[in-house]
Structures are given as structure tokens and as C-alpha cells.
Point group: C2
Chain length 401, copies 2
């Protein structure tokens, strides 16, 4: 997931490892919230001070009606459409965001912030805890999707953007979109949750728990204090990523891409090297990931996703979360996504229908699995373009005809 | 998979850990193959001497026509219908094998041997390498499903059983059944591959690779020489088991069993303990498993499964594997099994149909996922009973009417 370049690579060996010497690289724009501006957290504590790192694309128009907030997924970040400062690769959603793209930066002002708990410039477990002068580690508070969304709203306040033309995101990004609308619906003109869910399933909690156990089983994790120890639970995080990565694809996509093809050899070696391309590919995904991501952030963000249960905040009724909303919705799922299957998007749509909300729903035919939202899916782009443009007309951002 | 008691438990905490002090417990009957009786392996080497540990139930009849070979799955063993010597729990297929059961031990003579590469008495990576006097570890040769089947045939030869009334097995057991019929079809009167495949898919290779990486990432693995070091890669193997365990269930089964229910608490703790029952359950499965299973065996057996590609041995045509067979087949799959989905059983049936073999095919409606073959599935038992009994009549084991 969140690895837009993954199908692009022709080889699957671990050759392009990046050693991150310094996380204090240019992460784009920064907003600092001082000790007097605490972020209230669902866990009952507050976070202060804190920092949000974000990127913007395009220009805010005079009446501030054209702002689009992009919410990123588990391992994504704010680098939507610019070169990634660590990997040097294109942003993770250049197919969707840019001049002439479905979210056209010649028309819209696009904002994307690294989430609270992340590791790309916003405050997270790898940040310095002002109370101790040391890295937070597990002293960082457990956060929720709602906490992430509170931080996004604080950012909009700082940027003096009263409301959003659109909030869009896939996977965990879609969860943030749903939470944003539920909590701050009057500030969101339209919303596009893609390949998302209103409530994390037990199977998905189970996969996340495996990932966390893999990280915590690594002795280099040191109870979360690896930075103090000058170590890094690379192996554990790589295993977590490998397991997760399988869930982002579909059986068909794996079969189409790899089948049982061998890796740089004519026959089986009768050993434990990566005989099959799919093994080599997975190892590559795992070890490349640890070069750009913080292990504790992985624990915190998966936890936030597991905790996500929007209906539970509304007496068990998702429809109640959407009462009296004027927001226009476009809900999108993909046929082969088994991590956030179409039926979970359908539940969102049913809840919206129950309160007579303005909603369109499209299930895109694709064999790319959950990752489809990051890949070249023409029908998906057409759907988003169509919705965005007609909604922009109704808001007067684009001429009505 | 292969954990028949898993739905039985009411609690999911790790309370019943078993410390194995000595693997030289009573594993049932033993056959020793001497240095002059080498087992030829697909990898080009031989294994000699070697041991097979097995269990039998019921009695062989006078004309030796009532022998049933049960082939066990990845983490199964020979203790099909007797109390397990390590866990003290009932055998893993007491629902299927026993007096009055579908495979009725009042009628049939049932044999089940621990596979080569296993860790329950048959020779495997935890056995002593006669060449060095030390535990094999990674010096054990990589084996295949065909190697396992060769060993099974050697056992039948020792027991002076010319042919089998039936070979049956689920999952990797079903792969062995298919290989047995392909290699020694004239010695198998009937065959029941359950929840199996003729060729391991890339998704399944990927899941296995994650498990192997988890084991090998554990520093207590010591390059496979953990026994020499007095250590045990418990954490790595537990993570492997947790990841695998999710694939044995279905999303629906997890939802039905756990949903988002909390573990012994009223509300979220905002920490990394097991808040959800499904997390606690998975941890329990992981850590209970390592008490009864050898980590290197896990590597070797998953490798054997990944290498399984029966069509590849027959110029890419599975039908060629079954040419001129007189064996009667009953192929069984389960609707919610996403690890070995029905379409893979259907491919087996199509290949059998292509050579006009005698085959019946039943897809059992169940939401228990791959594990259904080990659970209480009345329709499944009825299917097996019906097939077994009618086939026993045609062979004269049971009276014709």
C-alpha cells in the first residue's frame, strides 16, 4: 500500500536501499503549535507542543473556496505530488494530483499534512519529548483517527482556510475523510473516501497485530527505545511490511505479476534463498520500507486504525454520524480489494442513504487489490474527475457550463 | 490450520503453555531405515539412515484391502485419533477417524506417519546428522512433497501393505494425496484430496516467505543452529504462526468469533496490550504453537509446499499426471477457503475429467475458511462417509447392500 512505484520496478532485488542518516531533511512547510496550543487527544491526554509538516500545490483562490485536503494512508506522507525527499521518487499520488490531473492543481489548492504520529516531520514517537529531552518512543500517547483529524483542522485554522471544497483519501486516508465529515461536516463541501471502511474489521486488526508483534519481537526494538540505543528494528519492521504488503495486493495481481516464476535462475535451488520472484519482491518491499519509515510510527498508526470504529461513537449507528450533513459524497471501492472490501464501502453508502445524504457510489473493476487506489486505474480517475468537476461547478469554482 | 481444538477454547490468554523438555517422548510406532536403505530425494541427494514415526488405528484385514493412509498438513502429525503426547489434547482428526466415524476404525486400518522433515519422531532438521553427530539444522536437505510421498510408500512396503483402499488428507495432506496418486496410482484404490491444490500459488508462497523471514529474523535462530546454542527462535516462529493463522480462517469466521470485542476490559486502554480478543487469540495461537513445533521444520515444510507444482512434472498438464488411473476420486473444497480456494480444486477435477477418471467433486458451504477441514462440518462428514462407504462396497470391504 502507499507505494505507488511498486509495479514500476523491473527487478526485485534489494539494490536501491537508502540509508537515512538524518531525518531533519526538507519535509516542506511546517507549522509549530506551541505549549499554549495543546491538541486534545481521545486517550485523555494532550499533545503540546507539536509540529505539522505539510505540502501544498496550486493556489488558494480569492474566496478560499477551492481548497482540497488529501489525507494519506498508513505508510504515506505529505509528499503527494512532489519528489520524495528520502527516496527521490515521484510523490505517491501524481496520477491523481497535479496540473491536468483529476484533482487539477491549476484549479484547486491542494494541502496534505503528515499525520500526527507519523515520521515525516509531524510530531510522532520519533520526535523529542519536551518533558524529557529524549525521543518519545512509547511515551508518545496512543492516538486515534479522530486525533489525526483534529490536527488537520488546526492546520486549516492556521492557514485561515474556513472550509474545504473537498476532502479525499484512500485506505486510512478515507477513514480520516469519514471522521472529518462526522466531526466537522460544516467545513467539508464534498468528501471522497476511497477503499475505506467506517470500522476496522477483526481480520484487519489481526494482520496489524502480526505486524506489531514482528516489530516488538525484534531485540533491536529495545522496548521502543531503539533510538537511544543507536539501533533500529529493521528486521521486525521488514517482516511486518512483508505481511502487510500481501494484503494490499490481490491473489490475481500476484499471479499475473509473478505466478511461480523463478528469480534469476533456471531451476529450484533446494535452499532458502529467494527462488521465486514473489519472494524476492517481498523481501525488497520489506527492506526498502524500513529505510524510510519509523518502527514506532508503524505501531502507533496501525493502532489508530484498529481503534477506528465510527459507528461506536454514534450509539452504534453510522447513519447518526452523518445526520443533517450537506456534504456531497463520492464513495469508491475496488472489486478485488479484500482488505477493505466493497461491502464495507456499501455500509457507508447505506448509512448516507439512510439520512438522505447526497452520495454517489462507484465500485471500480480492478484486479489490483487494495493498492488499486494508488495505481493507474483509468475508470477510477474518470470517476473522480467527473465528481470533482460537477461539484466544482455547483460551488462556482468552475463555470456552470 | 491443523489445530482442531482452536475453536474450543473459551479464553484466549496464554495460560496453557507447554515447555517441552524432551522431544524423545512416545511418538507411537517407529520404523528405522538403515544406511543401506537410502531415500532418494528430488534435490539430488539421499537421506540415510532415517526414521518414520507413525500411528495406526483399527486392524488390517486378511486380504489387506482395508488400509487407509491419512496424510497430515503443515503443522499436523501422526497423532490423528489418539491423545497428543505433548499437548495432552485429542488427536487432530478425531471427528473424521475413529469407531463409528466417517473413516470407521471398526472397518478400516488407518495409518498416519509423521512426514519426513517433521519434528514428531520422523527424521527432520532437528534430528541428529549421522555425518557430524550434531543436529542437522540447515544441513538437512530441502525436501519436496514427492519426497514425503516416497517415504510413505517405503513405510507401506515395510508394513507389507501392497496397496491402499484410500489415501486422504487436507491442505498439504491433500497435496500428498495428489502426488501419491500421480506417482503410485496403481497402489491407491481411492483418493480424497481436501482443501488442496495441485500447485502452490504465488500468494501462498508469499505468505510462507513472510513466515520464514520472521523465523530467520529472530537472532535466537542462529542461522538454524539454535539447538547447538541452547536457544529457540520462539518469537520469530510465533509471528510466523500468527500470520499463517489468519490465512486459515475466513474474514466472516473472525468476525463471528471476535468482531471488535475487547479482551477482559470495558474500554480501550490506549496502549499496546491486546485490547481486542482477536489480538489475544492470535498471540495465544502463536506462543502455544512454538511449544510443540520445531522452527527449522517449519522452514522445510513450507518450502516443500512452495515447491509443489504437479503440472510442471507433466509438461505443464495436470491431466497427464492422472493418465490411465483407475483410482476413484472425491475432491472436496470449502466455500470460504481463500488459501486453497474452490477454483484450485476445480482445476484438479477438470484435469481428472479430461482423462475420464472416476471423480466426484463437492464444494462444502462453510464460513470456517481453510480450517473447515478440521472442524465440525456435518456436510463434509456426510460427503466423506458416502464416498468411503460406496467405494468400500465396490471393493468388497463392506457388503454390497
Amino acid at each position: 500500500m502507499d507505494d505507488p512505484e511498486f509495479w514500476d520496478q523491473d527487478q526485485t532485488k534489494v539494490t536501491d536501499r537508502i540509508e537515512i542518516k538524518d531525518r531533519n531533511i526538507d519535509q516542506g512547510s511546517i507549522v509549530e503549535f506551541g505549549p499554549d496550543e495543546p491538541l486534545e487527544l481521545d486517550g485523555g491526554t494532550v499533545l503540546a507542543p507539536y509540529t505539522l509538516a505539510y505540502q501544498t500545490y496550486g493556489a488558494l483562490n480569492a474566496d478560499k473556496s477551492n481548497a482540497v485536503l488529501v489525507c494519506h494512508a498508513l505508510t504515506g506522507d505529505q509528499h503527494v505530488a512532489n519528489e520524495h525527499p528520502i527516496t527521490g521518487k515521484p510523490g505517491w499520488w501524481t496520477t491523481m494530483v497535479g496540473p491536468g490531473r483529476p484533482i487539477d492543481t491549476n484549479i484547486f489548492y491542494v494541502i496534505c499534512a503528515n499525520i500526527i504520529g507519523g515520521c515525516m516531520g509531524s510530531t510522532g514517537p520519533s520526535s523529542i519529548n519536551p518533558a524529557t529531552g529524549k525521543v518519545y518512543g512509547l511515551d508518545f500517547p496512543v492516538i486515534t483517527i479522530k486525533d489525526m483529524v483534529r490536527a488537520q483542522i488546526r492546520l486549516l485554522d492556521k492557514l485561515e482556510i474556513p472550509d474545504l471544497f473537498c476532502a479525499i483519501g484512500g485506505s486510512m486516508g478515507g477513514m480520516q475523510v469519514l471522521q472529518l465529515v462526522a466531526s466537522y461536516g460544516d467545513r467539508v463541501y464534498s468528501a471522497i473516501p476511497v477503499a475505506a471502511t467506517a470500522r476496522h474489521s477483526s481480520q484487519n486488526i489481526a494482520f496489524h497485530e502480526v505486524g506489531r508483534q514482528a516489530v516488538m519481537a525484534d531485540p533491536d526494538w529495545h522496548g521502543g527505545r531503539y533510538m537511544d540505543n543507536g539501533s533500529n528494528p529493521r528486521k521486525g519492521l521488514a517482516v511486518a511490511r512483508m505481511a502487510a504488503h500481501i494484503t494490499y495486493l490481490s491473489d490475481d495481481a500476484l499471479h499475473r505479476k509473478f505466478g511461480r516464476a523463478l528469480q534469476d535462475r533456471d531451476k529450484l535451488t533446494f535452499g532458502f534463498d529467494a527462488d521465486f520472484q514473489v519472494e524476492s519482491y517481498l523481501r525488497h518491499q520489506g527492506y526498502r520500507f524500513v529505510d524510510r519509515f519509523d518502527a514506532n510510527s508503524y505501531l502507533y498508526i496501525t493502532r489508530a486504525m484498529d481503534y477506528f470504529d465510527l459507528p461506536a461513537d454514534y450509539e452504534g449507528s453510522l447513519a447518526h454520524a452523518f445526520r443533517e450533513l450537506k456534504t456531497r459524497f463520492c464513495v469508491v471501492s475496488f472489486t478485488s480489494d479484500w482488505l477493505y472490501p466493497t461491502r464495507e464501502s456499501r455500509e457507508i453508502v447505506q448509512a448516507l442513504n439512510a439520512v438522505a445524504a447526497n452520495v454517489s457510489f462507484v465500485e471500480i473493476e480492478s484486479d489490483n487489490g487494495h493498492d488499486a487506489f494508488l495505481l493507474d486505474e483509468p475508470e477510477f480517475f474518470k470517476t473522480i474527475s467527473g465528481f470533482i468537476n460537477s461539484t466544482a461547478k455547483s460551488r462556482g469554482i468552475l463555470p456552470a457550463k
